[in-house]
Assembly symmetry: C2
Homo-oligomer: 349 residues x 2
């Protein structure tokens, strides 16, 4: 029985929300404690990060909190992101551009309503070999709702891939069997991130439980099964992106308009180990957490040389009820529950 | 343009939760203010009402709060409800028996796991012409979740109907196109109640909004459309049962295990008028609210002779944020929103 796993490298988490200000100071230190050394940082601050300077300034604020983490940065796609901005961003070392359909999730109100105006931007990204991160949902409407919003987006994914076949695209936090299949059907420039919480949740878990409510919502048991199979398949198109999304508990414990997002950063690798262990697939864990994402993103050793090692140990690990205190405390995923896996950080001596 | 509707009789609401104790005292007075003179009272108190004496005692407590309402009473199906209890209940004037599948909704933990043991009870009910009220959901499991739980129950409905074709059965608070079709497919002894809130809600409305979370959950836009069509169709198999379910606001504003239920009692007829008006079907309103249910239940004039009249007026009507005060206050459906219809009670002079 495997009860100690030393990861080949610390985890690379290719979808991270750490906000700004006090929340950033609370959450950034949990990147390392969750077993992660490389964090791909989402740009949906208030206001969103729509210029190279804003992104670089944010990166500096993150580094001031924990300089041992590698932060890969993204721009928020909006009309300001012209081809010229893309060329400047590439020079400045910005890795990607995140595209939010307008109005589908937290701070997406400045997002995209139509993709065609961005084709010149996508062409510049393809030329610069930058990565396009797609929040793959259509806004709800007459026939679109939270359960088919991702599936309805898949033709758009395929269309953009068809127009820009060399553009690397990540379908973020995919949640459905249909999305898994669509990513497989695309060429090797299309990949997908899978979160920790979607390996556990289905619709029943967020019905009446806003702590488990996120966008895209967790779907049916068959969808969860497809995510588990993809994550543990050894296929390099599927890698870890936690979409860990901290919200003050006062924005979650509400009767209406509870914030969408599940916070998993503090125990990221432990949750994923738990899910893989339940399937007897721990042999696939390292590549999902540490390898496939770095490969797809072409991360170089120079970008990412942590001085510490992650050891996963099979032992009882009670998830705290809250991170932080008072009205801005954050409830972690599975708060109060006991995991069977624990992250240990071994610093170089 | 119709802007005043005098109902032929006050509304009959064939699915009412008013709880007990202080909550009962808060909620029972809203039966009349919602336009209702006849309330079919659910037995899922804590503990549930599983004897004739308990039901009659509860009825007395309700009458002590508002003696002008006609309360039709039900028993909670469990092993105590033998054929002999059915005969006694019929003699005591109890109208029906409510069957809750174990564990699917508020206070259903004493409910039914298998129907076959109750066939003798159903036979006695058929003999006494009592009504069986079915909460039509299967408990969630490997392949069953909150969105298909009702559809998966429909074979059970058809099976019970086939075994007891003269037993009057109401599929309570139906929420899906599949359920509407199943009720139509059955003989005339099978009917269904439709709530006010399911005429408005779909899955998007309860995602992150526990105030709109209820069991059965609101489903897809196509399901809502089927409910609207059934309610406004003039088919006597579909009639009003609000399933108004008051919960203290502290049990709704939670990050996990928010109570399932939407409170509509205080504005019941106004909500339904609003929905029918949006479809241009106000001509079907009176029969849905006042007529078809009484017909199916064989309510006699002697049982139900209110001294007052309900007039619906098309005028701006702001739904209060809360009914009551403090931690046990109840948030009504569409709290803070403005309805276009208002219930006026005209007492006989």
């Amino acid at each position: 029985m495997t009860d100690t796993i030393t990861l080949s490298r610390p985890v690379a988490d290719f979808h991270v929300h750490v906000r700004d200000g006090d929340m950033m100071k609370l959450v950034v230190p949990t990147i390392k404690s969750g077993g992660v050394s490389l964090a791909y940082i989402m740009p949906n601050l208030v206001p969103p990060l729509t210029s190279v300077d804003d992104v670089l300034a944010y990166k500096s604020r993150l580094e001031a909190v924990d300089p041992t983490i590698t932060y890969l940065m993204t721009l928020y796609l909006c009309p300001a992101i012209t081809p010229q901005v893309i060329h400047n961003a590439a020079k400045a070392g910005i890795t990607g551009v995140k595209c939010y359909p307008a109005g589908v999730t937290t701070n997406s109100e400045y997002g995209v309503a139509s993709y065609a105006p961005y084709y010149p931007t996508f062409a510049a990204m393809e030329q610069e070999d930058m990565v396009l991160n797609l929040h793959g949902e259509c806004p709800s409407g007459q026939h679109i709702h939270v359960l088919n919003a991702e599936q309805e987006f898949l033709p758009t994914l395929k269309d953009i891939h068809g127009r820009f076949p060399r553009l690397r695209i990540v379908l973020e936090h995919c949640t459905s069997a249909a999305a898994i299949q669509a990513v497989k059907d695309c060429g090797p420039t299309v990949a997908a991130t899978i979160t920790a919480h979607h390996l556990f949740l289905t619709i029943d878990n967020w019905a009446g439980n806003s702590f488990n409510y996120c966008k895209p919502v967790a779907k049916f048991p068959t969808d969860r099964q497809a995510l588990l199979e993809a994550a543990t398949s050894g296929c390099p198109k599927f890698f870890f992106g936690s979409d860990s999304a901290p919200h003050p508990i006062t924005n979650k414990e509400k009767g209406q308009n509870a914030a969408a997002g599940v916070f998993t950063q503090s125990h990221a690798a432990a949750y994923v180990a738990e899910a893989f262990d339940q399937l007897g697939k721990l042999d696939k864990l390292d590549r999902f957490l540490c390898d496939f994402g770095r490969q797809f993103y072409k991360v170089t050793p120079a970008q990412d040389e942590p001085s510490w090692t992650v050891v996963l140990k099979k032992q009882q690990n009670v998830v705290p009820r809250l991170l932080g205190q008072g009205p801005s405390a954050v409830a972690p995923f599975k708060a109060g529950e006991t995991l069977n896996w624990k992250v240990e950080i071994v610093d170089a001596v």
